[in-house]
Structures are given as C-alpha cells and as structure tokens.
Symmetry: C2
Subunit: 253 residues, 2 copies
C-alpha cells in the first residue's frame, strides 16, 4: 500500500464534502501541512483538485471527465437508459439502476421522481445489500453457494424497524425474490420510502444490474407500489433486450 497515494486519495475524499483550506486538510488526515501542500500540487496538475481563491481547495474537473468516461464504458447503463427513462416518465417516480460491487450496491444511474418529495441518492453512491430492493435482486441472482457466502459476510445493521437483521431471514427472502423475479424493500433502508426492484439480464441470462422504483410512502401505500411491479418488470425486460437478452426467466449458466 502506497502511503502517499493513500493520503492523497483520502484528501480527495475530504474535499468532496466541501472546499477546505490547507490547514483544515492537514488536521483532518493528521499530516503536516507541507506534505499536504505537495500532494495537493500534484493533484492539481492532474485537475483532481482546484484552488478556489487563495486559501481554499475544491475538487477539480478531472473527476467529471473520468466519471463520464467511465460511465460511457458501462454498457448496461447506456443500453438500459431508454427503458428507464420511459419507466420514469410513465410512473413519475424515482428510478435507479444499480449493480453489485464488493459486497455493496452501487447506483450507476438515476432518474428523479416528478414529485417534490424525493429520495436522497446520487449516482456513485453505495448502499447495503441486505435492506435494499436492488441489493436483494442482485444477490438473489448469484448461485446458491455464493449467495450464502455473501449473506454471511454482511453485518445486518438495522437501519429501520423493518430491516432484515439475520442471515437466515435474508436467505429466505432471497429465495422469495428469486422465485418471484422481483424484490421489495418495505421501508427497510429508510423510513418513509419503499422500493421494488427487478433484474436486467444480459445475453446469457446473467444479471447485469437491477432497476428499482423508489416511492415515498406518503405518495403510495404498499399495495399501490406493488401495483407498479408489472410496469417495472416490463421496463427491466425492455432494458434486458437492449443488453442482448433473448431467452426467458430462469437460468444460471
């Protein structure tokens, strides 16, 4: 592990929240300011950070550039876009596209709901596997052995009253999800918001990502949300077709 690189990346993460001064940064990561200065200078030449006035640093534009290039590489995202935009248009609710990465869910695309009450999220944000509809869909797509492995590696923090907090319960839930073909998060991640999710499949039937609808409970009760499932699955299927999917439901090759 490279010390200086590690420190530099930590600096970048610190700056993500808000612009900061040299001293603030030095204090936060516990390194002398001269060191921080030098790291910042290198980051600056690569446009990773940018000087704001004389005494503040903020994130630079290389991040935008890299992120967009990276997103363009994600074929699922590009392929799924029209289907998700349509779903968002028709339902008026927040649509997320998420994939599995290192024991977490990562949001790779988002379409804002049309209502004023919105869920807070962000492309690139990570979320737990055990209490999100997308997480359930993604893990449910794994072969049984791996499913257990992953399930056992989770910490099951209880984020709301409804959060699943044990391996057994989670595995049982995954079975249900795999069988039904969609997952529900009944305010298990955030109070006041519930979601449904369905898988997006690729050419060989493998699950590439999960699409979800996130709706504040004040706008729609659980039955209302479940009534949207056919619409959701239609969109997920449309996205799957765009990703090269041809076959039908099942199959873990």
């Amino acid at each position: 592990m490279s010390q200086s690189l590690d420190r530099a990346l930590t600096l970048v993460a610190c700056l993500a929240r808000e612009p900061k001064t040299l001293d603030q940064l030095a204090g936060e990561i516990g390194v002398h300011k001269s060191t921080v200065l030098r790291l910042l200078r290198t980051l600056e030449t690569h446009h990773f950070v940018h000087r704001e006035g004389a005494r503040h640093y903020r994130l630079g534009t290389a991040l935008f550039d890299l992120a967009n290039q990276s997103l363009e590489q994600r074929d699922v995202r590009r392929s799924a876009e029209p289907a998700l935009a349509g779903l968002n248009e028709r339902t008026g609710h927040t649509v997320h596209l998420a994939s599995y990465e290192d024991g977490e869910v990562v949001y790779i695309d988002k379409f804002e709901g049309h209502h004023s009450v919105r869920m807070y999220s962000r492309v690139g944000k990570r979320a737990p596997l055990h209490c999100t509809a997308v997480g359930k869909v993604l893990v449910a797509s794994f072969p049984p052995r791996r499913r257990e492995e992953v399930a056992e590696g989770l910490g099951y923090p209880a984020l709301t009253a409804g959060t699943i907090t044990g391996v057994r319960d989670y595995l049982a839930e995954l079975d249900r999800v795999a069988e039904r073909g969609y997952a529900v998060d009944n305010a298990e991640h955030e109070d006041f918001i519930h979601c449904v999710a369905a898988p997006v499949r690729g050419a060989r039937g493998e699950v590439l990502a999960a699409v979800s609808l996130s709706v504040p409970r004040v706008l729609l009760d659980l039955d209302g949300l479940l009534a949207l499932v056919p619409e959701l699955r239609k969109a997920a299927e449309e996205a799957s077709v765009r990703c090269g999917w041809t076959g039908h439901e099942k199959g873990n090759p």
Copy 2:
C-alpha cells in the same frame, strides 16, 4: 511533486479510455509492473479502480461519487439547470454550460439535442478558449488587462479553416463579444458545427459561466442560428436571475 501519486493519477487517466491489464499499464507509463500493481491496490481500496475479472482493471465507482458530489457543490450548475433544460426543450438543440479554468473551457453541464446528428462532447471535457463561443464569452468578461494576458497565453492552433489564429484578431473578436453580449463560433472549433453563447451572471454582475447552443450546419445555416440568439439570451438571463443576478448588462465591479 509526488512521484507515486503522479504515476497513480496517470494510471487512472490511462484506464479512462478502456479497461486494461497490469502489463499494458506498466508499459504505457514505463514503470515496472510490481510498482503498478501496488499503486492499483491502493487505488482499489479507495474504489478508484476496480478489478474486472482476473486480468483487467477499470475505473471504479468512487469517481462517480466524487464527481457528483463535486457537481452538487457547483451552485451555477444547479441554479442554471431549469433555464437550460427549457432552452434545450424549446430549441431541440444541444445546450452546454461551461466555465473558465486554467486557460481552458470546461463543460460543466450538457443537454443533448433532439436530432440524430449530435456534437460529441462530455461533461468534464476541456476545450480551447480561442475557437469556442463559450470561451469567447468567458474571456470577454475579464477586465482588459487580464483579457490581454490570457489572449497572449494561447497557442491558437487552427482546428478548422475559420479558426482565429492571432492575438490581435482574438482581442478584436472579444471586443465585439463584450459589446454585443453574445459570441459566435462559426465552425471555428469543429467543421460542420457552429455555436452561439451568452454569459450567466451572478449577484454582482460577474460572469459565472457561459451557456451555448451547438448546432450542426446541416440543420441550420448561420442566419438560422443567429435567429436563436434572443431565445439563448433569454435563457441565460433566466439562469442569471436564479444565480442572484439583479442588475442590467454591463459592469465589472
């Protein structure tokens, strides 16, 4: 300048184009693979890169996250969004929001045109100041002395037949832009595409960014494009108001 950090950031830039193997990367930056491996590992723990299968690395999701957090901080972007979306909706053409940074233009937002012929660009991309409408608007907003400074620092590469290639011509153009309140790029950056741009101002009248309309010439001739200027200025003004602008045209406080 930190060597290891410099190398690591270069690696990230290399990965932006496409996923690569360890050896490829080592070759590209001219460093032994064991070194590259260690840098990649650190980058990986920060989610800057991600292992794809066993022998490929791609950009990680931290980039999305940071980029989006950073964009959320850019007040201009958030404030200008509705006005730009409206302009895009009404005209059907590509709308860009750009700001000045280190002698270049940086695109900080983009709304795709509705036509199949599109301009290639990307949020985060950088472009020259001398041959873009947004560049002219941004530099024209500087006080005279600084304007000259910047103008003299440019290289004036001729990207098309119409590109301005000298300091004098450029300064004269800036005068016109400042007077008219908008700028034109008559296929000076890319053949086949021409643009018009106008400034977005903040509370004290200072120019925060520039909005532009980019249109392929096959869709609209120059007169047709210029006919859109009032529409463009209306949108730029609307955005300015959202950014706290109250006064009228002129004024460099």
